[in-house]
Symmetry: C3
Subunit: 136 residues, 3 copies
């Protein structure tokens, strides 16, 4: 059995943001056992799972990803939407468009330090749409 829930996130500024609570409270009914799948319907933002405690980790995610995929590389062709756009596409494929988490004993079985990140790679993004799916 599969149930989908559309989640329209509040707009977030460029950067990495913990959205665990915002996502999980959108689900009304957790099965005892299952898989939780979360998908982002955009190509310049992504989803991943990482450290949920120290805010400087989120800041370092932003600066290190900017270091790995810099803006204004001289050979970039798709620059019509600004210097942040093409790096945003690359970063979104590096982190990925979806995450999936086992549901054990009626809750998503995240590790102690794991949280769900929205990776917002654009300078001026509007609200992002996610599809949460539970199969059980």
């Amino acid at each position: 059995m599969i149930q989908h829930t559309t989640i329209r996130l509040a707009p977030y500024r460029r950067g990495f943001h913990l959205i665990t609570r915002e996502v999980l409270r959108a689900i009304n009914d957790w099965p005892e056992q299952g898989i939780f799948h979360l998908f982002i319907k955009h190509t310049s933002a992504g989803l991943c799972i990482n450290e949920n405690a120290d805010p400087t980790v989120l800041e370092d995610f932003e600066s290190i990803f900017n270091h790995v995929v810099p803006e204004n590389l001289p050979f970039i062709k798709h620059d019509i939407e600004g210097p942040d756009d093409m790096p945003a596409h690359i970063k979104s494929s590096m982190v990925g468009s979806s995450i999936s988490i086992p549901i054990v004993d009626g809750r998503p079985d995240l590790g102690t330090w794991q949280g769900i990140y929205l990776c917002e790679f654009r300078n001026h993004a509007t609200s992002r749409t996610l599809v949460a799916s539970i199969y059980s």
Copy 2:
């Protein structure tokens, strides 16, 4: 219920290629609700979801990934299959070996600008084999 379909792609040259149509037309029967999972059975090519409209985005994917994971790094040991081989393995693990997409109202619920990419990282690759799985 799970149904698998093997998809043998046409050979593609090195680079990023939109294969949305080629993949989706291989599926005869879409359930109303489900998840679509696509897996590549190779280690020097990958799958991801990204921008489906501007061909220069595909070109920039190739050049930026080459910038992030350059060939001929002096410390590389596994070079027997050519300078493109080891970077291909790395890139394939960065983008990943599978994608999954919610199926909503009888079709894969991609965002407006999302398409499925084959990421072909080898200079002279032959046809790649995918396994498409639908669970409903």
Copy 3:
């Protein structure tokens, strides 16, 4: 139907390690058709699928990922757990926290050269916990 199995890996040193056998032998019962999902409950290690034959590939994974995400970048703020910690978080989100593989004819349908990697990014990690899920 979904069945979870918790797998507590032996501790591995920093680097990339083939854990295909260790993971698959933890599963007692494979369905004829299904999906195999593997999730790591940590934020400084990851999972991916890559080449299963040449040990130098594993060494090159380690050195190339260190090249892409170097330690001691001057702008890093979260350094209290050592210079390997923040790069470990980044690398884990690059490779991802889970993999999924179609189960075809009673076995995980990996390609000839595909194996499951534990990507251990910390210098002194202890045992890592995985959740293996089979849905059929």
